[in-house]
Symmetry: C2
Subunit: 148 residues, 2 copies
């Protein structure tokens, strides 16, 4: 059920861009701030660029910017772009659906569908803007979610 470092780093970068939205931010600066290898981050940022989430400006004084307001970029979109699949099993993935020979009688499909829905319910409801606010006051709502 792991999320890759790509998504982690990508989200960190977007959070950083969101809080420096007035100017273009070079990859090097983000990499230093979050101790991520620059070359690796470059790749991640390129992927985000290709997905239309950020724009890159080359040359001196260049860097990256968000293409939209941080509140309009949701985490689910970012993870899908960087990690690929979101579903716990291929048989319930819209990203790379894999047919399963046991499907007609498989009680597990229901489980995986629900799991996927639960995950998507969280990450598609959370925007980059939400991640920029300090986490302190959110502790209450975390508890209320897990107790449901």
């Amino acid at each position: 059920m792991n999320v890759s470092t790509k998504s982690e780093y990508g989200l960190r970068a977007l959070i950083y861009l969101a809080s420096n939205s007035h100017e273009a931010v070079p990859a090097r600066e983000i990499a230093e701030k979050w101790s991520v290898p620059v070359k690796y981050l470059e790749q991640i940022l390129k992927t985000l660029k290709d997905a239309g989430i950020i724009t890159g400006q080359v040359g001196v004084g260049g860097g990256y910017r968000l293409t939209r307001a941080a509140s309009l970029i949701n985490v689910g979109e970012v993870i899908r772009v960087l990690d690929g699949r979101l579903a716990p099993m291929g048989c319930v993935s819209s990203y790379d659906y894999e047919e399963c020979e046991f499907e007609p009688t498989c009680g597990l499909k229901t489980l995986w569908t629900r799991t996927r829905a639960a995950i998507v319910g969280v990450i598609d409801q959370t925007s980059i803007a939400d991640l920029c606010t300090p986490p302190r006051q959110s502790v209450v709502s975390i508890k209320s979610v897990s107790r449901r």
Copy 2:
């Protein structure tokens, strides 16, 4: 966010054991039924045995049995045993917590905590017995979950 074949195969095996609870079932029989490599399944069943979820009986006519009613074995327990970690990131894992240098100011921790809670909310509420019922009538509830 993937679940491994270990968990998938393990759950399938438990479902099979649950529907043949009156007799000991050999690994070979389960493996044939679900087209899983026998030797691989053996390992998985051993892990489940070591975790106290099933018992093994050696010798002719031997095989495996559930130690509890299928309704008392939840999916979360099984996945934790076979896959290890459940959390999307180490910083919110109770299984193998990894300290993160950015924790105090990291908005992502809240996100991963919520994601983990959402996953656990599904899989810890689902028992092996739930997976044994034919999935047909559950389609309605799947849709209602995903549309929410």
